[in-house]
Point group: C2
Chain length 331, copies 2
């Protein structure tokens, strides 16, 4: 097997560091290469957490907001939530002949990825709702976990919960160790993330902000169930992400990470905080993951690249900033 | 000045306890009389926090949800948010001649309390939005605090932030000391509560769940402002409270406190948890506060009383369960 140049570079850096720095053992971000980007991240966290720093931010205000698909985990060839939803549509198709003519179900049945892309977050949420009508939001989470237990990524051949980015797992832990509150702000339905975000990312349900399937309260024997209805209560994308952070958290995030133009308003919201750091994951690594940006159907990144410099957005070059992409496979 | 019987009783109890129990010094709820209700509350908190108890609930799942008006603070002669909104409508009336014919503004201008009551949460939220169009959600909070700094309750003659219930302040602290996450779930706009809930109740902005004024993202010089628009994005009342707890928190509360029939679905939601405790504040104290229930325009409590026993809801009799109602006046 050939050893890629980046691998040689990382060994060289590690060897160099081993010789003379006791800091290596305490490196909170071991999967990040020693680049200016990593340095900038650590400098930011250090200055906002140091009590005698002019940039000090009290723990209550240390809000970090992360997009999910493409930022914390792989989103190609399409969002994981959609692959789940499409499987459910196909499973239930016989009982729903009307779906043959009804979007976005029709597109899911016909593998019409372009139409799915066009339906955006609202369409994807409608599929999750429509395939779980009458079930509770807890039952939806169980449905997601049952699916995740056996589903495999079509080309990477691993469970989706393992296709999360190791450098970002380290960043989430590092931030929490520094008393940041780590939030996910996603276009997926909150239940889709809540099903697995706590065990995979360490992020509890109340720190997942996302789209909402329509729900209704059904009372039986004095107990209220929250049942899913056939519709979308809130589609969370683009400017919706900034709106929803304001509604749900009520504070500006001071650290934001995204990967597509749909995440830029979150970064612009953070720009109103006294201190902030905003990062964009640029998918440049077609060998270890996928390489895409301005022409992609999912996770399109265009303005995020052209406007990065003038806005001070830090662009992570996956290929050159990350030593490792995914965590080791579980047994 | 006459000493009421309840006051004599409390002195007697205190004297009796002083003699032989070291527990008094550690009483976490000193403003609650030694009644079965207080005992039940403490027993519940003890059993869910004791690791070897069969009823143990891990800290992450210790969600406590409180209604605000009438549960944590006075709501008569009407909700504080409405008194604020009405003042703002009257202040701005000259610039808005259309309000003379437009509800709910017309009702606010004419002191038409019955129509205001009928407009429900949606009307009250519309007033807050309509009087702050174009301002940011942070500016709305400042507007609330500027008003609170001088506003006084019409009959109790104290600032509204002092008309909070001392026994509930103690309960909030007691729950947090036992690693509960204390949330407010209110019909008021989240910004109205966020303006003062942290300094008065110790509840941070992300633990306020409520109604939402309509907002829009406005980007200027790379910075996103969240500006208020003339409308209501979500009116949070009745079954909405249970829906929103599910959407925002994603876990069932295990302790719920309300005071009106609008809070019952929250209690029914808690009833689906393995362990839960649900309380209703019954306003029985016309001398120290207000006495009202099934016929009140604000905070109507009818089914909450008739169905309490069969549902196991604990009804707090303000007059007989609380030693003190309000905290001492600030200088």
């Amino acid at each position: 097997m050939l050893i890629p140049a980046t691998r040689i570079a990382q060994v060289t850096i590690a060897a160099a560091l081993l010789g003379n720095t006791p800091l290596l053992a305490a490196d909170p971000l071991p999967s990040w290469k020693e680049t200016p980007l990593k340095q900038s991240l650590i400098e930011f966290v250090t200055k906002v957490t140091k009590e005698d720093s002019p940039d000090y931010v009290p723990p209550a205000e240390r809000i970090a907001a992360f997009d999910n698909d493409g930022t914390l985990c792989s989103e190609q060839p399409m969002y994981t939530q959609f692959i789940f939803g499409q499987d459910k549509v196909k499973e239930q198709a016989a009982a729903h002949p009307e779906w043959k003519e009804k979007q976005p179900f029709k597109a899911a049945l016909e593998d019409d990825i372009a139409s799915i892309g066009e339906s955006e977050v609202k369409g994807l949420t409608a599929i999750v709702a429509g395939t779980h009508v009458g079930r509770t939001t807890e039952e939806l989470q169980k449905s997601v976990n049952d699916w995740l237990a056996t589903a495999q990524h079509p080309t990477l051949k691993r469970p989706y919960t393992e296709l999360v980015y190791q450098p970002m797992l380290e960043l989430l832990s590092y931030l929490r160790a520094n008393e940041f509150k780590t939030y996910i702000v996603t276009g997926s339905a909150v239940e889709f993330l809540r099903a697995w975000a706590e065990r995979v990312y360490g992020i509890p349900p109340e720190r997942i902000i996302g789209s909402n399937v329509e729900t209704a309260v059904v009372v039986k024997d004095g107990v209220a169930r929250i049942e899913i209805a056939d519709g979308v209560a809130f589609a969370n994308n683009k400017s919706g992400k900034a709106l929803l952070i304001d509604r749900v958290i009520g504070r500006k995030p001071i650290l934001v990470f995204g990967n597509s133009d749909g995440d830029l308003d979150m970064m612009r919201l953070a720009a109103g905080a006294k201190n902030h750091w905003a990062g964009i994951v640029h998918h440049t690594d077609g060998e270890r993951e996928f390489a895409y940006d301005s022409e992609s159907l999912f996770g399109r990144l265009k303005a995020g690249l052209t406007d990065a410099e003038k806005n001070g957005w830090h662009v992570v070059d996956m290929k050159n900033d990350w030593l490792t992409v995914f965590p080791p496979a579980k047994q």
